[in-house]
């Protein structure tokens, strides 16, 4: 019997072939935590008596991306303690300003087919690169650091076939939100979503990372793309062409479900406050006044996202009364956006640039909205209290919808501006 993508990846990290439904021990190719989870991971390592020797120090990362740069002395102390621990253990520190953990590991460390453990819920976005990113708790991350192994139930897979070309104004965000509409927040619980179909040939790794980041809200254990020519192009652009290998399911793999999404039928969508299930067409909420727009983060902070927003805003100004905050996903993205023009365009349009990192999204600092304010944000999840204020109203949308909204000052269908 053929293997699904996830069965192949887990089998390559276990002692022999695995099947969906089995609970197995698997080797870990890379493990990381950030400055929110890292201190707890270190406490678990000490409590387990496993803090003296990490299994793969050079493949163990502490990414200082949440309080970046630190807004409080307590956080600064914890970051300092993580640097000290990492140095003693031989682990790597991805320091403040380098970017969001998931983006940095996608750019520099993760290979297609890798099994990766991250102590953060968004780790699954690595599925865009054809890698299995398991977003686990701090105890599991500590075990992965100490032993170089983790455990998991191999999920059954549901196949998602993508066909057609998206119309103007429709992005990878809308594709992922359309999937959320169909699967709701529990429709993929315990399952892996595996993408295939002719439309994949036109879907860049950046777009795939976006889809994988957003589609995780269906409850899926994993959201996986094959590693193909697009993946090769991405890795070559990072100077890592040698890390590419094809990763694909067997033709006779067994799936528990099949769903086809025709991209040509999609329209721009948003998620209303405060639940990941409240997906509606932008048109349904158009006209709502907005005080803040957040463009960037791990789900949409890549060059193509900033470039798409910049193209819409070129030669124009953000509406008065709107703060447009731009959070690039990494220093590498920021540098390219500076070199290639989108950054200048965005700043000329009135954008406020913040440190590459997670701060604006998790509500630590760098853009906490006021009570009653409405925010449109290109973030992975918009639960109440996201961005740091439970009395604010956060809509989740694509970079194009965010840019069109910043321009008009009200929630706007980007097709109106692009036409």
């Amino acid at each position: 019997m053929g293997q699904t993508l996830i069965e192949r990846i887990v089998s390559a990290h276990a002692d022999g072939p695995v099947q969906a439904g089995e609970v197995v021990i698997a080797r870990v190719a890379l493990v990381y935590a950030h400055d929110g989870t890292g201190p707890v991971v270190v406490r678990h390592l000490r409590a387990l008596g496993l803090d003296h020797r990490l299994a793969q120090p050079e493949r163990t990362l502490f990414c200082l991306d949440h309080g970046a740069p630190s807004p409080r002395r307590e956080l600064a102390d914890e970051q300092a303690a993580l640097r000290t621990f990492a140095q003693a253990a031989g682990a790597r520190v991805i320091d403040i300003g380098e970017g969001i953990s998931h983006q940095v590991v996608a750019e520099r460390f993760v290979r297609p087919g890798d099994l990766v453990v991250g102590a953060d819920a968004q780790t699954g976005l690595l599925g865009g690169l054809g890698a299995l990113g398991l977003g686990l708790g701090t105890l599991d991350a500590a075990i992965a650091m100490a032993l170089g192994q983790t455990w998991l139930r191999v999920p059954e897979s549901q196949r998602i076939t993508l066909t057609g070309q998206p119309p103007m104004g429709v992005t990878a965000t809308d594709l992922a939100l359309a999937l959320r509409q169909r699967l709701r927040t529990t429709g993929a619980l315990g399952r892996a979503l595996e993408f295939t179909g002719p439309a994949l040939a036109h879907l860049s790794v950046g777009e795939r990372l976006t889809v994988a980041a957003l589609a995780g809200e269906t409850g899926a254990e994993a959201v996986l793309f094959p590693a193909d020519d697009q993946t090769r192009l991405y890795l070559e652009a990072q100077g890592r062409g040698q890390d590419w290998c094809a990763v694909a399911p067997d033709p006779d793999a067994v799936y528990v479900g099949d769903l086809t999404l025709d991209l040509s039928t999609l329209a721009p969508l948003v998620v209303r406050p405060h639940t990941p299930e409240a997906v509606v067409p932008v048109q349904e909420v158009a006209g709502i006044r907005v005080q803040q727009v957040l463009l960037g983060t791990c789900s949409h902070g890549r060059l193509e996202d900033l470039a798409a927003a910049a193209a819409l805003l070129r030669g124009r100004r953000v509406a008065s009364g709107v703060r447009l905050i731009v959070a690039p996903a990494s220093r590498a993205v920021l540098l390219r956006a500076a070199q290639e023009g989108p950054l200048t365009t965005l700043v000329e349009a009135g954008a406020i640039l913040v440190t590459p990192g997670c701060a604006s999204c998790v509500g630590i600092h760098q853009g906490v909205p006021a009570d009653g304010e409405v925010v449109v944000a290109t973030i992975p999840r918009n639960l109440r209290g996201r961005l740091g204020n439970p009395e604010a109203f956060v809509y989740l949308a694509s970079p194009l919808t965010a840019a069109a909204t910043a321009l008009r000052g009200v929630l706007t269908d980007p097709r109106e501006v692009l036409a």
């Binding site: 439904g21 089995e22 008596g49 708790g137 455990w151 619980l189």
Partner: protein
């Protein structure tokens, strides 16, 4: 309840979409409360008689999405202390699933629809099979690899790793 490779118990049938707040109502839950004191309030809002009826070897048999909601190792720990030897469901909340196995409570994904309340069940963990003795049905529930079986037998992942410092079988 100590987990064994072959376990024998009776089904306590539950419904779909039970959250962690259905298992232990939020008003009772507090991190500093010893888990054993929470046994009498298990499922209080769902069926106030259920906690009193749970006996050693109880097998909870749920439908879809059992244990949705925020993570806490205490929740499956309380179920173990109440005598629950395993939880079967069509699907589990992600965090509950991992927490259950971590504290040594087998959570098994299984086709539970046909199991009736009170059915006599045998759980064959190495074979990944639930045998419904009352009906003769055999239901696959996924094989647990030997290291997983061993940590379940030894009372949970944390004491197991403190003892062995490795995933030994």
């Amino acid at each position: 309840m100590t987990v064994a490779r072959l376990m024998h118990g009776h089904a306590y049938k539950l419904g779909d979409d039970l959250t962690v707040a259905h298992i232990i109502p939020e008003r009772h839950f507090h991190r500093r409360r010893p888990p054993a004191t929470l046994v009498p309030v298990l499922f209080e809002d769902l069926d106030p008689t259920l906690a009193g009826r749970l006996s050693q070897g109880a097998v909870l048999v749920a439908g879809r999405n059992f244990g949705l909601g925020p993570a806490d190792l205490a929740i499956p720990t309380v179920l173990r202390l109440a005598g629950v030897c395993a939880v079967l469901a069509l699907s589990f909340g992600r965090l509950f699933y991992r927490n259950a196995l971590t504290v040594g409570l087998p959570a098994l994904v299984c086709e539970t629809t046909a199991i009736q309340d009170g059915d006599e069940l045998v759980l064959d963990l190495p074979a990944g099979q639930v045998i419904n003795v009352s009906t003769g049905q055999r239901l696959p529930c996924g094989r647990l690899r030997p290291a997983v079986l061993r940590w379940l037998e030894e009372g949970g992942l944390i004491p197991y790793l403190r003892r062995h410092r490795a995933f030994i079988a």
